[in-house]
């Protein structure tokens, strides 16, 4: 989460005080990402150093100091909004690694390992769904954040389901491996060496 760009976005609406920025940041993210005052001021100082915001000349550092966005700041914000986050190379996903490792550890049933994680993820989703049911109906930002979290967790469960099915099939019919293909494929999908 880019606090830097979130603050620029809030300032693009007009000049604001530091304390106000913190309160609005939390309200607009459905209060799912709490922010401490220190983070706000450090980020504002850096934005000012980089010429992306300006502060009141007279005001002292503190909650009453006002900030406004500069033309460079607006340009930076517009570019950031349209820059895709880095999703091109697969992350080192701890869960994927655990399932791969479970395949190699003697005496470990990989399906049991998968089920432990599936249950935990469904329990997390139940909690998010309660929030959606009880609070997100009246808070659009919170609803969007909760949806994002539910879809993310759901995609992990789908992967576990697919892995479960694939492993079951592979146990009945082991796949034939062609090692000569591996280096090329690895480069293609951007796996880190």
């Amino acid at each position: 989460m880019s606090v830097r760009h979130a603050l620029l976005a809030l300032l693009s609406e007009g000049p604001k005080y530091g304390l106000q920025l913190r309160e609005e940041f939390e309200a607009r993210t459905g209060e799912v990402w709490p922010l401490n005052v220190g983070q706000v001021y450090t980020t504002l100082q850096r934005l000012e150093r980089d010429g992306l915001v300006e502060s009141d000349d007279a005001g002292e550092d503190g909650p009453q100091k006002g900030f406004r966005i500069t033309a460079d700041g607006e340009q930076e914000l517009a570019e950031w909004l349209r820059t895709p986050p880095d999703l091109a190379s697969p992350p080192r996903d701890e869960l994927v690694i655990k399932v791969l490792v479970a395949l190699r550890v003697p005496g470990t049933d990989v399906h049991d390992v998968i089920q432990v994680h599936r249950r935990y993820l469904v329990e997390l989703m139940q909690q998010w769904t309660r929030i959606k049911e009880e609070e997100a109906e009246h808070d659009l930002s919170l609803a969007l954040v909760v949806d994002a979290e539910l879809f993310r967790l759901d995609s992990v469960i789908r992967w576990l389901d697919a892995a479960d099915g694939r492993l079951k099939r592979a146990a009945a019919e082991p796949p034939v491996r062609d090692p000569s293909m591996l280096p090329r494929l690895r480069r293609k999908v951007g796996v880190r060496p």
Binding site: E31, V32, W33, P34, D93, E94, L95, H111, Q115, H117, R118, R119, L121, V122, E123, L124, M125, Q126, Q127, W128, T129, R130, I131, K132, E133, E134, E135, E149, L150, F151, L153, D154, V156, I157, R158, D161, D164, G165
Partner: protein
Amino acid sequence: MTALELRDVSKVYGAGQAEVHALCDINLYVEPGAMVAVMGPSGSGKSTLLTIAGSLEDPTSGEVLVGGAALSGMSRNDKARLRRRSIGYVFQDFNLLPGLTAAENVALPLELDGTAARKAGAAGMQALDELGLADRASQFPDQLSGGERQRVAIARAVVGERHLLLADEPSGALDSVNGEAVMRLLHAACKRGVAAVVVTHDAQMASWADRVVFLRDGRVADQTAAPLGPESLLAPGPSASGPGR
């Protein structure tokens, strides 16, 4: 008293070499007002569990109780009456009768049970109204969107004095917004005291349930613990977005 109880229920299809154990020693208790989701891969026995719970099929062994009454002691007529009066069904493909309007579809189970047409019609209208469909009452199913059809099907499932809802992939044919609306309605019915069993492979839909039961090869492999309140996710601090995986 439980709304639905399955005691050591097993179901075997075929015999000899072709014998298939669809369900093995299933124990499931659903209290009034609770929503239980049943998840599992294709062929894990989810739909079989639902048809047996709904008295549409008999178990090979074990006992099913609906509202405390054992199905094994009931005649075919008794079971049919129980299905009409106490159990509501929601299917993936809605199963509305195309020649009847939304209101007539909803009132049908009451009329089949002997309720006078006028009274059944009024109850049907009320059920539609509660689901925000009063203005669609005179439309035929093919004049309704998928989401509206499923809401009509839910109205039909809850009309009258139903105590148990059985839903098989109720949002399977809907997009996520309509799917969520359907789950919200089913959950609202549970808050009014109806018990529900929802079979689904979709974790987002299952996450509406109070308890999620995982089936695997016809057995209960696992189930979720009682859910924590939302405050556990929204508490300030580094764990605010939930534990990392």
